[in-house]
Symmetry: C2
């Protein structure tokens, strides 16, 4: 029997009506001849309620107890979804993490999958169960305690089940109807993509497109799980949504497939840094330890007068989220006080944003960067920092130009046209 | 290390402040030198919310899914209680039913205990844990599915743990401060009892005193678990509340220790029943099958003219809760239509109540019934049905006299005085 994994997020199971709506979609796949594994999140709002209680009880909480409390939200949805399916005459039952079992590491609140033995669920499929409803986001540690997977855990659970059970596809039902060339709120010309390559999706996810969590895309890429993103709130068929797949499945790709952005960025420059071997590590190791998510890094030779610096000097610029600037500044000042690094000044610009173009086609096409820079120059947008990867070019610009830049790049790379 | 079981019901853990208050009581026992097993209910209102969702989803729900959903409420409280204790520097961890494991039968929603192996919890006590916080009301079936125990399940869980771990005592914290000679809302003369025998508590519990569920008292009596009922909302010490214990522990008992009542009773009389062997079974077996809780049964020879009944005839009277009258009538009429029983008329009186006096002292004292009947007669209260057991005398009377009867009996047996 071919098998499908279907995942419904919190807004898709927010109340009993929505659970029913989701169950109808599951029933339709059963009628098409699939065995189905459904992964559910907690009803929206429930996880926040539980997390709020834990944090109010114990600011420095024991992560094992946090996990035991928070995982209960998914258990409730799993039971209700199984009951809803049974009411529709679909043989279904719920599975909590420890019942499968979903074996994970003991890193509570950010556990990783160890393995998902198929035996228990396969036995029930063989006995006539058509749908296994699995509580997402959770697992069980080698010590027999409940673990949770951290952010995006339910998407990741879905992909892991699809990999473990050799599913034909993993359908992620959410509150958007697919992956777009860019945010439709910024330009009405944004177009839904029928297909996108894993690598592209990864860049888009980590660049701020909120559709899929990075970790689930990474896992899908590693196990070649075909992921589909589609809407819970629309009628859907086998062609709906966006398929995230291996690039081999995409016959012809445009050079650029998406324009992503990240609004709340900050640019920090250490001015006149003493340039010596190990200086980068001396700067970025303590930032990483302090949990500062450094994104772009640029080093350039200062044009200042070198007279009062006997050795060579450099300026070091990096970007991080705006709300981490205070922490980054503190770490740098402590490192200077401790003598591990030396710099003249620390300059912060909190009014910047990042805009990126992404496309696997870049690998074989030159001139993408030039086209991007020209397009921004035509709008008189000044580029402050540039960084590139094999399939992505990102720039930091003034935040006030963000929408303008996204619209200009969407036009420049003709993303409106399929 | 001596061990104590402490149980907190839904109102005692209704919010984070109350959980904290309960945790302080636990901490105090730890400071007195006890290892403690805490049994918690769901935060009040939570179980009703979950049950509401299940019933709205599936009126004829799969009890296995019902249990999986409903048990999650206790899991949340267990985690929060463990965190609260940790914040107070008390080494604690939460235990869900399957983690202990609390092995039960597979009768979902009304499972019975099979066994509670001590190994896992004892190991943690040996490693320095001082408090095991166990989710009440739940267990795990031989099939590895979550079960719940039905009404009063958390009290019963507490008693079962006290029995399994040889606890010195099982303290049931609730919203009343003990067991009273009668309902204080009916007479201000009601007095809190320091001690009460298991048998008496059983009669009081099943007669409508809501303090402890019958099933937990039965279990406590069987395993000689000393049960204490006391208030969550008052300062308590080792002498607080009411101890429910073996009668050997009660040095001198009064003849009557309590007056109980049950308000919503109905009296049903089958008039002129053909009296033949097996007639009682023919009447009460179908009532039991239909779930009618028949309480008192009285059979008396009719004084009617026997001419048109060749065999001997009788009147059969029984009582049941008012809200089961319609069902009882239907069952009786069907049995008459099917020819399994014969009667001339079915007379229902829905305006009655039951008042009872209870005391283990009755076993060795005569004259209790006479004193009770005289006390009611002095108030011109007519007795409609009488039934007696070794330690209890119950009467059905008109409902409008209920408060009067309770007050009169409380006075007659001098329950105000210790």
């Amino acid at each position: 029997m071919p098998l499908l994994v279907m995942k419904f997020g919190g807004t898709s199971v927010a109340d009993l009506d929505r659970i029913k709506n989701a169950a109808m979609k599951v029933k339709r796949e059963v009628e098409r001849g699939y065995d189905v594994i459904v992964i559910v999140s907690a009803m929206s709002g429930k996880t926040n309620e539980l997390v709020g209680w834990v944090e109010a009880t114990s600011p420095l909480f024991d992560a094992r107890e946090y996990d035991a409390v928070v995982a209960s939200g998914e258990n409730v949805t799993a039971g209700l979804m199984a009951l809803t399916l049974q009411e529709m005459d679909v043989p279904a039952r719920s599975w909590q993490g420890w019942q499968v079992p979903i074996n994970t590491t003991s890193q509570h609140s950010s556990a990783r999958f160890v393995d998902i033995p198929r035996k228990n669920i396969d036995t029930k499929f063989a006995e006539g169960m058509k749908v296994a409803v699995v509580a997402g986001f959770q697992g069980v540690s080698p010590e027999g305690r409940i673990t949770t997977l951290g952010r995006g855990g339910s998407d990741t659970t879905a992909v892991a089940f699809a990999a473990a059970f050799g599913a034909e596809r993993c359908d992620i039902y959410t509150d958007v109807d697919g992956v777009y060339t860019t945010d439709p709120r910024i330009t009405s010309k944004a177009r839904k993509l029928d297909k996108i390559a894993f690598e592209e999706m990864l860049e888009l996810a980590s660049l701020g497109a909120k559709v899929l969590q990075t970790r689930s895309v990474e896992l899908a890429m590693r196990y070649k799980v075909r992921l589909r993103v589609l809407s819970s709130f629309e009628d859907t068929d086998e062609n709906s949504g966006t398929l995230v797949c291996d690039e081999d499945e995409i016959m012809e790709s445009k050079v650029v497939n998406g324009v992503a952005y990240s609004r709340e960025e900050a640019k920090i420059t250490l001015v006149t840094v003493e340039d010596k071997p190990g200086i980068s590590a001396a700067i970025f190791a303590p930032l990483a330890e302090a949990g500062v998510n450094v994104d772009m890094i640029v080093q350039n030779i200062s044009e200042k007068d070198y007279d009062d610096h006997p050795g060579s000097v450099t300026d070091m610029t990096f970007s991080c989220p705006v709300n981490q600037v205070a922490r980054a500044r503190k770490v740098m000042e402590e490192a200077r006080a401790a003598g591990t690094i030396a710099y003249d000044d620390l300059v912060v610009d909190t009014e910047v944003c990042k805009v990126s173009v992404v496309g696997i086609g870049m690998r074989s096409h030159a001139g993408v960067a030039a086209r991007m820079f020209k397009s921004l120059a035509d709008e008189n947008i000044n580029i402050k920092v540039i960084s590139t990867s094999e399939i992505k070019i990102s720039v930091l610009i003034d935040r006030k130009y963000m929408e303008l830049a996204v619209q200009a790049l969407h036009d420049a790379f003709e993303l409106e046209q399929a």
